[in-house]
C-alpha cells in the first residue's frame, strides 16, 4: 500500500458501523462512514474518492442497490470496487449485486472482521496494481 487506503463504510446500524470502522482502522485504513443511501452517494461523489466502498443493501432513504447503480453509472465512481455487506443470503440479491458490478457479496452475520480485513486488503491492492 503506497498511501493509506480510504474506505467508505455505508451501514445504517450504529453498532455494526462502529465495530467495522474500529476493525478497519486497526488494520490501518482511513475510514469514512455513512448511515443511509443518500449520504453514501454524496460522500462517494465528493473527492477525495474512496479506494473501496463497503455497502449495506437494506438502508433508509436509498436502498443499497440504487446506490450501487448510481455509483456504477458515473465515471468518477464506477471504478471504485464495491463490497456488498448484506443481511440477505437470497440468491436473487447476490446475483443482482454482482451483475451490477459489485466486487463481492457477503452476509455480515457469516463474516468475521478478520476475513473482511483480508478481502478489503486484497481489493485495494488489486486496485492499486491496475
Amino acid at each position: 500500500m503506497s498511501a493509506t487506503a480510504r474506505v467508505l463504510l455505508v451501514e445504517d446500524d450504529k453498532f455494526l458501523r462502529r465495530a467495522c470502522a474500529a476493525s478497519l482502522r486497526q488494520r490501518g485504513f482511513e475510514v469514512t462512514t455513512a448511515s443511509d443511501g443518500e449520504e453514501a452517494l454524496r460522500l462517494a461523489r465528493s473527492p477525495p474518492y474512496a479506494d473501496i466502498i463497503l455497502l449495506d443493501l437494506l438502508m433508509p432513504k436509498l436502498p443499497g442497490i440504487e446506490v450501487l447503480k448510481a455509483l456504477k453509472s458515473q465515471p468518477d465512481t464506477s471504478r471504485i470496487p464495491v463490497l456488498i455487506l448484506s443481511n440477505s443470503s437470497r440468491d436473487d440479491d447476490r446475483r443482482q449485486a454482482l451483475q451490477l458490478g459489485a466486487a463481492g457479496y457477503y452476509v455480515k452475520a457469516n463474516l468475521s472482521l478478520r476475513e473482511l480485513g483480508v478481502q478489503v486488503n486484497q481489493l485495494v491492492q488489486r486496485d492499486d496494481a491496475n
Binding site: D13, F15, L16, A19, C20, A22, S23, Q26, L58, N87, S88, S89, R90, D91, V107, K108, A109, N110, L111, S112, L113, R114
Partner: protein, 598 residues
C-alpha cells in the same frame, strides 16, 4: 293278365277232359251192358257190342290222345307262361325284398331316433331335476304337483314337503296379492310371464329373491289345468345391487358434502365427470366437462408444465399423481389448487383417472406469510448477530484482558456463532421448502469439496483426536449446487465428529456407480436408535440419544441435507445400530462428462 287267361284255358281243358271221360265211360258201359244183357245173343250181336266197346276205347284213346296233346300244348304254353310268371314273381320278390330292406332300415332309423329322443328326454329330465332353478307345476288351485330338488337349495324344503300343498303362503304378502290380481288376466290371455321378482320365505326365516317365469297350462279340451314355471334365485345379485345402490348413494352424498372437486376422467375421450364442486368452489356455472376446458383454466404460466407432468405420469407406472397449480375461477381470479388422482391402467396403458381437487389458496397464503415472516425475522436477526460477532471479535483482540474475561468472551462468541448457524439453517430450509430457490445444476467435484470441508474442520477433528480416512473409489463429478452440497457434506461430517466420542474413527468414502455418485461417512460413535432412523430427516426431529449427548442441535441439519439431496435428484439414508456407529450415505446423479465443466 297272362295268369288269368291261362287259368281260363286250364278250366276249359279240364271240362273237355271230364266230358270225354264221361262219354267214354258211358260208351264202355253201354257196350258192356249189351254183352252182359244178351249173353245168349248171337255172335254178331256180340261182335256189335265188341265193336261199340272197341269204338268207345278208340274214342277214349283218341280223346286221351287229343287231351294229352292239348295238355302237352297247354303244359308247354303253361311252362312258358310260368317262366314269365316266375320272372315277374322274382322281380316282385326282389322288389319286395328291397322294400322290406328299406322298411327295415326305416325301422332301425326310427328306433334310433326314438332312442335318441328318449335319451334327450332323459337328459332334459336330468336337467330339470338338477338345474339350479326351481322348476315347478301347479294345479288350478295353486297346489304343487311337481317340483325339482332345487327347491331345497333355494328355500330349504325337500320337494316331498311341499308336493300337494299350497305354496303361495311362502311368497311375501304384498307380492302374493299382486300375483293373485294378475292371474285371471294371465289365464284368460294365455300369457307367459317372465322376470317377475318376488321375495320368498326360506325355511330358515330369511327372505330370498326369486325371479319367476312360467305359463298357464290347458288341456286338449281347452280347459285350464294349472301352471308350469321356474324360479331363479337372484338373492345374491339383489344383495349386490342393494350394496351397490347404497355405496353409490353414499358416494353421491359424500360428493355433495365435500368441499372438494371430485372428478373422473375418461382418457380415451377426454370427457370428465365432476361433482358440483366446480360451481360451488370456483364459480364455474357451465362446468368443466372436458380435459381441454380444464387445461384452459390452468394459469398460462403453468399450463405447459402441468400438462407435461401429467403426461409424464400417464406414461409412467406410478399410481398417484399430485400437482399444485393456479386455477382460474369463474370470476377470472386465480385460486391455488392441490390436484391429486390415481390412474386406472389396462395392460399398462392408463385409460381412466379419478381424483380430487382442493382449494389451497388459504394454505398457500399462510405458507407464503410464514415463509415471509421467517425470512423477515431471520434477516432482522442477522443485524444484531453480526453486531455481537463483530463486537466480541474486537473484544477478543483487545490487549491486557484478564484471563477470565477472555474465557467469557470466547464462550459468548461460540454462542453467537451457533445462533448464526441456526438462522442460516432456518433460512435455507424455508427457501428450499418454498421451492423459491432453484438450485444450480452444475458438475460438482465431491472429492475436492470434501477435502475443502475437511480442511475447515481440521481444528475440531484434531481437538477430538479422531482418526479420519478419506477413500476415493471413483471421483466422477456429481450434478448439483456446489454451495448447497458443501453444506450437506459439512453437516454430515460435523455430525460424525460431534456424536463420536474422542479418539473415534471416521471414514469418508466416495464411489462412482453407473450413473450415480455415492458419498458416505461412517463413524464408530453412539449410533442412531432404530426407531429414530425413519424420522431422522424430519424437520426439528432429534433422536433421544442425540439430545442427551448435546442439547444444542437444532434438528434442522439433517432435514436440510435431505432437502438438498432430494432436490438434486438424489437419495439419502442412514444405516446404524445404536452404540455401534452410523453410516450416512447419499447419492447424486452423475454429471455427464461431455459439455459439462468438471
Amino acid at each position: 293278365m297272362a295268369t288269368r287267361s291261362m287259368m281260363r284255358l286250364h278250366r276249359l281243358y279240364y271240362v273237355l277232359a271230364l266230358f270225354n271221360v264221361v262219354t267214354i265211360a258211358g260208351s264202355v258201359y253201354l257196350g258192356h251192358q249189351m254183352i252182359v244183357d244178351r249173353p245168349e245173343h248171337e255172335a254178331d250181336d256180340r261182335r256189335r257190342s265188341e265193336l261199340v266197346i272197341g269204338l268207345a276205347v278208340l274214342m277214349m284213346v283218341t280223346a286221351a290222345g287229343v287231351y294229352g296233346r292239348q295238355l302237352t300244348i297247354h303244359l308247354r304254353r303253361n311252362e312258358r307262361e310260368r317262366s314269365d310268371h316266375l320272372q315277374a314273381l322274382e322281380a316282385a320278390q326282389t322288389a319286395l325284398r328291397e322294400q322290406a330292406g328299406e322298411l327295415e332300415r326305416r325301422v332301425e332309423r326310427r328306433t334310433a331316433e326314438l332312442a335318441s329322443a328318449n335319451r334327450r328326454l332323459e337328459q332334459f329330465r336330468g336337467y330339470v331335476e338338477n338345474t339350479s332353478e326351481w322348476v315347478w307345476a301347479l294345479d288350478p288351485r295353486g297346489h304343487l304337483t311337481y317340483s325339482n330338488r332345487a327347491v331345497f337349495d333355494i328355500l330349504g324344503y325337500e320337494p316331498e314337503e311341499l308336493l300337494g300343498k299350497d305354496v303361495r303362503p311362502l311368497v311375501e304378502p304384498a307380492a302374493r296379492e299382486a300375483t293373485e290380481r294378475l292371474l285371471p288376466e294371465v289365464i284368460a290371455g294365455r300369457q307367459r310371464w317372465n322376470g317377475i321378482v318376488r321375495r320368498f320365505l326360506h325355511k330358515n326365516g330369511e327372505w330370498r329373491y326369486l325371479e319367476s317365469s312360467g305359463m298357464p297350462l290347458f288341456g286338449d279340451d281347452g280347459r285350464f289345468i294349472g301352471f308350469r314355471g321356474a324360479e331363479r334365485d337372484i338373492t345374491r345379485r339383489k344383495r349386490a345391487e342393494e350394496a351397490l345402490r347404497r355405496s353409490e348413494e353414499r358416494f353421491q352424498l359424500a360428493a355433495r358434502a365435500t368441499n372438494d372437486v371430485l372428478w373422473d376422467l375418461d382418457l380415451a375421450t377426454g370427457a370428465i365427470w365432476r361433482n358440483d364442486g366446480m360451481r360451488s368452489l370456483f364459480g364455474h356455472t357451465e362446468g368443466v366437462p372436458q380435459v381441454e376446458t380444464w387445461e384452459a383454466l390452468v394459469h398460462p404460466d403453468e399450463r405447459e408444465a402441468v400438462r407435461a407432468r401429467l403426461q409424464n405420469f400417464l406414461e409412467s407406472e406410478r399410481e398417484t399423481w399430485t400437482d399444485e397449480y393456479r386455477f382460474r375461477r369463474g370470476d377470472g381470479t386465480y385460486a391455488w389448487v392441490l390436484d391429486r388422482g390415481i390412474a386406472v391402467r389396462v395392460n399398462g396403458k392408463a385409460v381412466r383417472m379419478i381424483g380430487s381437487m382442493i382449494d389451497i389458496t388459504e394454505r398457500k397464503e399462510a405458507e407464503r406469510m410464514k415463509s415471509d415472516f421467517v425470512s423477515f425475522v431471520s434477516h432482522q436477526l442477522r443485524t444484531p448477530i453480526a453486531g455481537m460477532n463483530w463486537m466480541l471479535e474486537l473484544a477478543a483482540e483487545a490487549e491486557h484482558l484478564p484471563a477470565q474475561a477472555r474465557d467469557y468472551i470466547a464462550a459468548a462468541r461460540e454462542s453467537a456463532a451457533r445462533l448464526s448457524t441456526l438462522v442460516n439453517d432456518l433460512l435455507d430450509v424455508g427457501r428450499l421448502e418454498s421451492g423459491r430457490t432453484t438450485m444450480a445444476r452444475a458438475a460438482v467435484r465431491l472429492d475436492e469439496l470434501t477435502r475443502s470441508v475437511l480442511r475447515e474442520m481440521q481444528t475440531v477433528i484434531d481437538e477430538k483426536r479422531h482418526a479420519l480416512t478419506f477413500e476415493i473409489a471413483g471421483a466422477a463429478p456429481a450434478l448439483g449446487d456446489e454451495q448447497m452440497l458443501r453444506q450437506v457434506i459439512a453437516n454430515l461430517l460435523s455430525n460424525a465428529v460431534k456424536y463420536t466420542p474422542d479418539g473415534g474413527h471416521i471414514a469418508v468414502r466416495l464411489t462412482a456407480r453407473k450413473d450415480l455418485v455415492e458419498w458416505s461417512v461412517t463413524d464408530d460413535g453412539m449410533g442412531v436408535p432404530r426407531a429414530a432412523q425413519a424420522r431422522l430427516f424430519e424437520k426439528f426431529y432429534r433422536a433421544d440419544n442425540a439430545i442427551s449427548k448435546e442439547a444444542e442441535g437444532t434438528g434442522l441439519g439433517l432435514h436440510l441435507v435431505r432437502l438438498v439431496v432430494e432436490q438434486a435428484g438424489g437419495q439419502i439414508w442412514c444405516d446404524s445400530e445404536e452404540g455401534q456407529g452410523a453410516t450416512f450415505t447419499f447419492t447424486l446423479p452423475m454429471a455427464q462428462q461431455a459439455g459439462v465443466e468438471a
